[in-house]
Symmetry: C2
Subunit: 700 residues, 2 copies
């Protein structure tokens, strides 16, 4: 049972855009941000997997029509809010909005509930209750499907309309077919409002809107109830079916059904957190968002770095999914973890093509990917309107560790699940093809008799085009070792052996993986301190205040030439060491943790979870918990100042990674084992993880 079920936000303390991210509702298929239905908004709906070609960013999630607005107009004038209160009920998975709306002809009290339905996956439902305070006159309610939503681009004055309306008509209800701008996806949207005049009435269509409208006379005290539904579906008939079902059931039964599923969800998690209310709240809210972005009916789980909550990173998938978020799903929803890897399976051919384009062998996963698995990182971003200044982005070309991150995730998944079917169908192929990438990526340096990996960006993006980045090399080595290990075991199994022979894997090739992995340069000193990349220790040193978060604490001159300093953006050596913690002696972990934490700005939200994880793993309760809490607060306290642009999946997932693998040292085996390495101060928590089909109760 979650100990907190409701979160209340008001606009006097937070911006509407931040609240809209925090109160986003999703079922992993459709997603709508929390901005109030009675106010104009640039945000329509997002549908998981529906991307389009776009300027600068290759492909991005399409900001679909806004089909959930409910506009009130009193005597012809739009009613605007005087104060809005948002109550997100995570226990029941719905959002309540209360406001006073005003116009020259008076005020009304407005109260609504909305859901994005957990059974009818295309359905958004809202019921609003409106009561005149001192409003007198004709009150009209409009329920439009707004067809002028666009995707924001860069610079911010630019926007792109990524869909077009193929048809718009009133069948039983206003019904639209829209197609993405590149023609790749077609969606049906059915809108349905129960307005004062009855269901389906007052249909209208203009060039920007299709919808329904109705009016009533109000005087102080008059009340009315309005319901509106919107259905999004990739299958036309299915959209109509869901709309009809919604219309016949009505709001309360639909909400009840939805709520019961959410309650069951929480019961299955059995999550209880006590002792630090702020931490508990943050963890619960993050958990809610991690849960709701997963659609159990989907074949693949595409998890963008900012969820289905905003446009930052354009709906692109990064290593945040495989490394930071996967452990949560692995322990609580193993099917979701598998489907996250299915996304990598589905795009394995694209990864092979990516490698080919870049002159490598095997499969190279793109740093950022959309629906089609090709590199989606922008090469440059215009900084001014005339396009005269541009920011060159090199991560797409140089941040290669993601390929090893995917292989790491495949192994992690398999070790916990023993999902033989997945391994045979796809997992083994990923391990083999990614290993081939690293063999072609590494170069033999005859002078030192080692393989080297030159010109990369590691997780710390302050230092660009470096040689032998610790994280990259260690993870690449692990990738090669995994391939060799899995391949050798596969040789003893008829079906898996068959897979290997389809891939033309020979004993010689396996030996080659071992050869490269064993001779891959890992830049560590004899005292166990590892160098983030070759030359890092020769850079100017600068000690960061303990606890200082972000770049604002760096002196301007350090920030301006940060690449010349031993100052890093996020966990790099420490991330690799935590991920592969069994491979390093404790004193090495301690030494590197102590060295790097004093040189890290944590300007990326991916940093604190890794430091927290390693601190807890090392038994450093106080600093571990302090960082864990800070990481958990990322969104609810808008720590990075960009919550408005989406939910930090990596941070939310990373906190759970730190709890599960840092604090609890959970290990797969015959049964699941764990041993607590540290304390979380006054916090006690318990939850049920799923391990090989069974529930395991974990208490801290």
């Amino acid at each position: 049972m979650p100990c907190v079920r409701k979160f209340t936000f008001t606009e006097d303390r937070m911006s509407r855009e931040v609240i809209a991210t925090l109160t986003t509702l999703s079922n992993g298929f459709v997603s709508i941000r929390g901005d109030p239905e009675f106010a104009e908004s640039k945000h329509g709906a997002l549908v998981s997997g529906v991307y389009s070609s776009t300027p600068v960013f290759y492909r991005e999630l399409v900001n679909l029509p806004r089909a959930h607005a409910l506009y009130l107009e009193l005597e012809g004038a739009p009613m605007v809010p005087e104060g809005v209160k948002y109550t997100l009920d995570i226990g029941g998975g719905f959002l309540e909005i209360n406001a006073t709306l005003s116009s020259p002809a008076g005020r009304v009290h407005y109260s609504s509930r909305r859901f994005v339905h957990r059974v009818l996956k295309g359905l958004v439902g809202i019921r609003a209750s409106i009561r005149s305070l001192d409003a007198s006159g004709r009150l009209c309610v409009k329920a439009p499907v707004e067809l002028d939503t666009t995707n924001p681009s860069v610079p911010p004055e630019v926007s792109v309309k990524l869909y077009r309306v193929v048809s718009a008509e009133c069948r039983d209800f206003p019904t639209l077919d829209v197609e993405t701008a590149d023609g790749r996806y077609r969606l049906r949207i059915v809108s349905l409002a129960k307005l004062p005049g009855g269901i389906g009435g007052g249909f209208y269509a203009t060039s920007k809107h299709v919808g329904q409208a109705a009016c009533v006379d109000v005087s102080p005290g008059t009340s009315l109830l309005v319901e509106r539904y919107a259905v999004f579906s990739l299958e036309p008939e299915d959209a109509l079916r869901q709309a009809r079902e919604a219309a016949s059931k009505g709001f309360e039964p639909l909400l009840e059904e939805h709520r019961e599923l959410w309650e069951r969800e929480w019961r299955e998690l059995g999550l209880s957190v006590e002792g630090d209310e702020d931490f508990a709240n943050a963890l619960l809210l993050n958990t809610f968002h991690l849960l709701q972005v997963y659609n159990d009916e989907s074949e693949v789980f595409i998890l963008p770095a900012r969820g289905l909550h905003g446009y930052q990173y354009r709906g692109h998938v990064f290593w945040d999914a495989d490394i930071y978020a996967l452990p949560f799903y692995l322990l609580f929803k193993p099917e979701a973890a598998r489907k996250m890897l299915e996304y990598r399976c589905k795009n394995l051919d694209a990864a092979v093509e990516n490698a080919r384009r870049n002159g490598y062998e095997g499969a190279q996963y793109p740093w950022e990917s959309a629906d089609d698995g090709f590199e989606a990182t922008p090469r440059e971003i215009p900084l001014d309107l005339a396009g005269q200044r541009k920011l060159r982005i090199l991560t797409g070309e140089l941040e290669h560790h993601i390929t090893a991150d995917v292989a790491y995730a495949v192994d992690l998944y398999y070790r916990f699940t023993q999902d033989r079917e997945f391994l045979e169908r796809c997992g083994l192929r990923i391990l083999v093809l990614t290993a081939r990438f690293w063999v072609s990526r590494a170069q033999w340096d005859p002078a030192r008799g080692r393989y080297v990996i030159r010109n990369v960006i590691g997780p710390d993006e302050y230092h660009v085009g470096v040689d032998n980045n610790f994280y990259t090399n260690v993870m690449a080595k692990h990738n090669l070792e995994l391939a060799a290990q899995y391949a050798r075991e596969a040789l003893a199994d008829a079906a898996l052996k068959e897979r290997l022979s389809e891939l033309h894997v020979t004993q010689e090739e396996i030996s080659r993986w071992v050869e490269v992995s064993s001779k891959l340069e890992i830049p560590c000193k004899s005292d166990g301190l590892c160098e983030q990349f070759e030359g890092f220790f020769k850079l100017k040193d600068f000690a960061i205040e303990p606890g200082a978060l972000g770049e604002k604490n760096l002196p301007q001159e350090v920030l301006a030439s940060v690449q010349e300093y031993q100052v890093i953006k996020q966990a790099d050596v420490v991330a690799a060491m935590f991920l592969l913690r069994d491979k390093f002696p404790r004193e090495v972990l301690v030494k590197n943790y102590d060295y790097y934490i004093r040189r890290t700005t944590h300007a990326s939200s991916l940093s604190l979870p890794m430091y927290a994880a390693l601190a807890l793993y090392l038994g450093r309760s106080e600093e571990g918990y302090s960082m864990l809490k800070q990481a958990a607060l990322a969104d609810i306290a808008d720590v990075y100042g960009n919550t408005c642009d989406g939910f930090h999946v990596g941070s939310a997932g990373g906190v759970w990674t730190a709890i599960l693998f840092g604090l609890l040292r959970i290990q797969p085996g015959e049964s699941l084992s764990y041993e607590r390495s540290a304390s979380l101060g006054k916090v006690s928590m318990s939850f049920d993880v799923t391990y090989r089909g069974a529930k395991v109760r974990v208490s801290i």
Copy 2:
């Protein structure tokens, strides 16, 4: 007196976007397209000279807020038109719109008149009369200022918002200050509606709109009258003053005042055309648009190639202004011609900087220019959403003849006006600095002992990067000759001599201009046939059907590699010969005309006017008139299929050029002389031109 005063358009025969261009109203300061105020539209207002930095196109005219909409909603549902009839009264300079508007709760008849005021230069006024046919219920009228207008960009899915709202409040009326996205201009917009509830009432503000609204109960037969005004001004106090004046005068007196000025305008023109109604209509409509884009209160006359009527070419100024449109103004509104050249004066420093950037001396006018006089031609245009295919545009880098075109216009203006003040202040400087450009642009070719101009695009843009383009070289030669001639005459005049010495012009430099001009390669054969550029005659030949207009008549294989053919887009040799007709023997004009007309697609609207002009000049009445008429019809018959994107200034002006200089061979002198060279079939026309302060009646 114009023989036609009203033009009626309906949407069953033309698209709304084409009609909106044809019914654009402007006073040369504010401009609004003719789309109906009761329907949503992407088009707000344009204000002459208000440009902003923009992607791809450097700077472009800003699509300002739409402040003239009048939306009707019956029982909450937007009323949409069932049929719209537009009547443009060019005699009175106003637009009448009649329509039936419908909604689920019934229909109304809607009738409005609008003007863009000729005295109050910031003022747009509309009065609508609404009568219920079978509409029953609450009818609300909204008069918003719509703050979500954007500029369309490329590809078409992309749009850019080129202004931001600095403040929005209700003073006496809804009042907004907006600033262009680049911060260069700030405008005040005052909106004012007389709605059923009275003036100034029902104020509201949302994130997208600021406006007024009011409602009345209607039943069949009920009528109401609504007025709305919007004022745009670069000076805040002036905006309020105009709004107050509009409010106190009311619509009818304002319209009367406006109408009287338009009637006076037409009286001064004394234009009458008879004998061919289609031609007469086209000429009158074009003349109306040429008249209304000129603002007599402005210091400079910026005349974009598509007027203030649409976004094609982004409000950029081309040679269309100096060569095609200037003659009309020169003969009918000499002050407008001067102000058109003032635009070139104002941007002369930028032209000097352009030359310097390109490695030349003197002043080089940009192929396309916006408000600041720098090169505004896009270098490349994205062809798809992901920006993977781009169209390279070379005109900005290679189409150099515009610099000579400006010099040509300066001389033409001076010969007609003897405007000594202009010459001394600016004209002489333009001639000198443009001559210097050509001296640096031409290269000495020792092999042939001639100066050559390599790697240009001439008016015919099918052939790119050619050497010794006839038009360019002949016009450059003329430019050099003009500079030498004016400079020599200036040496005999104390004040002008002073100007020369400020420019450090020496006798040696004048001799250099003569030297380069006299030895500049002009690629003509001994029989008088001139080659459009070196090598043109060696290209494959292809004869175009006489009368075939546009590229649709070319075989696909010719069009696909048109640069390999003696097929040209528009008048090039013929244009130069017409402009400098006194320099060529008649037989040369005939020979070249006959040669090139059979090889021209006229895919540019700038082609037919030049061919028509030369045909008429040569006394070829029938074909001359046929082409003249075709050119005149460019917009009213949407000949080029892009009238939706703006008015063809070059074509409309070019028709007048053909009449004045081709047909009438008008010559300056002690008094204005003319001799008719051809007939216009059954057409007879007469008009009053202005020559050195006096009116001259011209009859054909």
